[in-house]
């Protein structure tokens, strides 16, 4: 389905992504992990075509994505939804309008200007919101919602696009553990129920381990690990993060469960 070949991005003399190769043959939930600055966001932004690659190609179902221009590029973007760390909603517009933005690629500027969305789209938007458990928030302004709710609105906007791929750039990095869990479960459910490919940048190991079928580790722009969560041992994780022997997974954890593990609680008691 998705093939990324020798994809490279340079900013001046700095190489953000260095000859990345990824092949995905069926819809999978993929987690990309690595330190900040490892090139995870740049990689996703290139797949969505928010930024152009310096060299290399992205191919999806036989179509070369990295060569698309203009309307064809925007059409690809409508098939490849993106979720951001800071949600990137329009704060002063209501929740349903924000979700309806997922259909902008199919609408003219004139129709958008006068808010002329078809009734079926509006109903569908509210159904998606209901699926994510936030239908009651529909008429509120996006800025009035909590972070976790806003991120679910962003996921609803992504679903409204009816995409083949959902890219999530640090979707839970600015959320508290409880909301992070809700958002990750929503992404997992979308993957399982709709069969959509989900690629998520994650900054915590246990999230990747728990929700993803496949984990890709990046360090300094290179892909240094690509395998199943089981293959991701503590030693491999240390390599990815470039950490010493004092590296512990619990230190990077945002999961509630981790803290509830009895042996950890006992260990904490001694600290």
């Amino acid at each position: 389905m998705l093939r990324i070949d020798a994809l490279t991005k340079r900013f001046g003399d700095k190489t953000a992504v260095d000859a990345a190769n990824i092949f995905v043959d069926k819809p999978t939930m993929i987690g990309i992990i690595g330190r900040s600055g490892a090139g995870k966001s740049t990689l996703l932004r290139m797949v969505n075509r928010l930024s152009d690659a310096t060299s290399g190609t992205i191919t999806f179902e036989g179509e070369e994505i990295s060569a698309l221009r203009g309307a064809a590029k925007r059409d690809w973007q409508s098939r490849c939804a993106m979720i951001f760390q800071q949600f990137n909603l329009v704060p002063r517009m209501d929740v349903v309008s924000n979700v309806l933005h997922g259909t902008l690629n199919k609408r003219s500027t004139f129709a958008t200007l006068f808010n002329l969305y078809p009734q079926s789209d509006i109903h569908k938007a509210i159904e998606i919101l209901d699926r994510l458990g936030i239908a009651e928030q529909a008429p509120k302004r996006a800025e009035a919602l909590s972070g976790g709710q806003q991120q679910r609105v962003a996921i609803a906007r992504a679903l409204m696009q009816d995409p083949k791929i959902i890219l999530a750039d640090e979707p839970i990095a600015s959320l508290d553990p409880m909301n992070a869990q809700v958002v990750m479960q929503a992404l997992r459910r979308i993957h399982e129920e709709d069969g959509r490919m989900v690629i998520a940048n994650l900054h915590t190991l246990d999230t990747a381990r728990r929700y993803c079928d496949r984990v890709i580790g990046m360090r300094d722009g290179r892909i240094v690990f690509d395998g199943t969560p089981e293959q991701l041992t503590t030693g491999v994780a240390r390599d990815i993060y470039g950490a010493g022997a004092d590296f512990s997974e619990a230190a990077t954890s945002t999961e509630i469960e981790t803290l509830e593990r009895p042996e950890l609680r006992a260990a904490e008691a001694y600290v």
């Binding site: 808010n115 002329l116 109903h123 159904e127 699926r131 009651e136 529909a138 008429p139 709709d194």
Partner: protein
């Protein structure tokens, strides 16, 4: 998407959908009404203006190009004289640019003080904020040409009244723009400096100016462009520079249209030149800020 996973809440979804649809219909109705009122006002306003017009808009429309055609044809006949005329009026152009530059500089300094004294959180005397704001309102409310006419009456014709007139208007206009930028400035550095016992001017100089300097410079450059045009226009009321020469050339009517054309070329070229230069610098300033 057919897969609504939580069937239990279906009824409430239905009511949310219908209430939201009602809201959408109401909004569309208001939007349509607003658009209708706008169109009606535009059309009726145009008709009223057209009725009161001495000549009438539609009758005059086809004559719009007559005057430029006269100027251009005469200038084309005497095209050999143009370089000489351009050289002849170049000193007047320098005078115009001088007026604009000096008045922008003085106006920007005035606007800087007005903005810092009139911004909440930064003002030295918070109680006087309304006073400084009204001063800057008044300074920019009075058109340059009115101030210039008064000053020319008092001081006599020449570049100095024009310079003062433009500087006053610039100080008011930039004071407003500057204070909007300053309102968004981060107050934490100012607080940090205050905690070390810095005076008000030290706090402004070190805490606020570094943050706002790129925007201030960018606005000042924009104002400089505007002031070149303003100082050319003020020439029409006897304030010297290129506008004065242009008025003379145009007032003489046919026979001196070549001079008018030369002045137009100078004025147009200068405005384009400074537009380009300042937009390049403004781009660099705002882009540099983003990094």
């Amino acid at each position: 998407m057919a897969d609504i996973s939580l069937g239990g809440a279906a009824q409430s979804v239905g009511s949310i959908q219908s209430s939201y649809m009602a809201q959408v219909h109401r909004r569309r109705l208001y939007g349509g009404l607003t658009l209708l009122i706008f169109v009606v006002l535009m059309v009726s306003g145009f008709n009223v203006a057209d009725d009161r017009n001495a000549g009438g808009f539609w009758e005059g429309l086809h004559q719009i190009s007559d005057y430029p055609a006269d100027v251009l044809s005469e200038a084309w006949e005497k095209r050999a004289d143009l370089p000489g005329l351009v050289a002849k009026y170049f000193p007047a152009l320098v005078e115009t640019i001088n007026i604009a530059a000096v008045s922008t500089l003085i106006g920007a300094i005035g606007g800087l003080f007005l903005s810092l004294l009139g911004t909440r959180g930064l003002a030295k005397w918070p109680r006087l904020i309304p006073l400084f704001r009204r001063i800057s309102d008044i300074m920019r409310a009075v058109p340059e040409i009115v101030i210039a006419l008064v000053l020319i009456f008092v001081l006599g014709g020449g570049p100095v009244p024009a310079m003062i007139a433009i500087a006053i208007h610039t100080a008011g206009a930039l004071g407003k723009m500057f204070s909007e930028v300053a309102e968004n400035a981060d107050l934490k550095p100012v607080e940090g400096l205050a905690s070390t016992g810095a005076t008000w001017s030290q706090r402004m100089l070190l805490g606020v100016l570094p943050q706002v300097a790129p925007n201030y410079l960018s606005y000042s450059l924009l104002r400089f462009e505007i002031n070149i045009r303003a100082s050319a226009i003020l020439g029409f009321v006897g304030a010297g520079g290129l506008g004065y020469e242009l008025r003379n050339a145009m007032a003489w009517g046919p026979g001196r249209f070549d001079e008018a054309a030369a002045i137009f070329i100078l004025l147009f070229g200068t405005i384009v030149f400074f537009d380009q230069v300042s937009s390049r610098y403004r781009n660099r300033l705002t882009e540099g800020q983003g990094q």
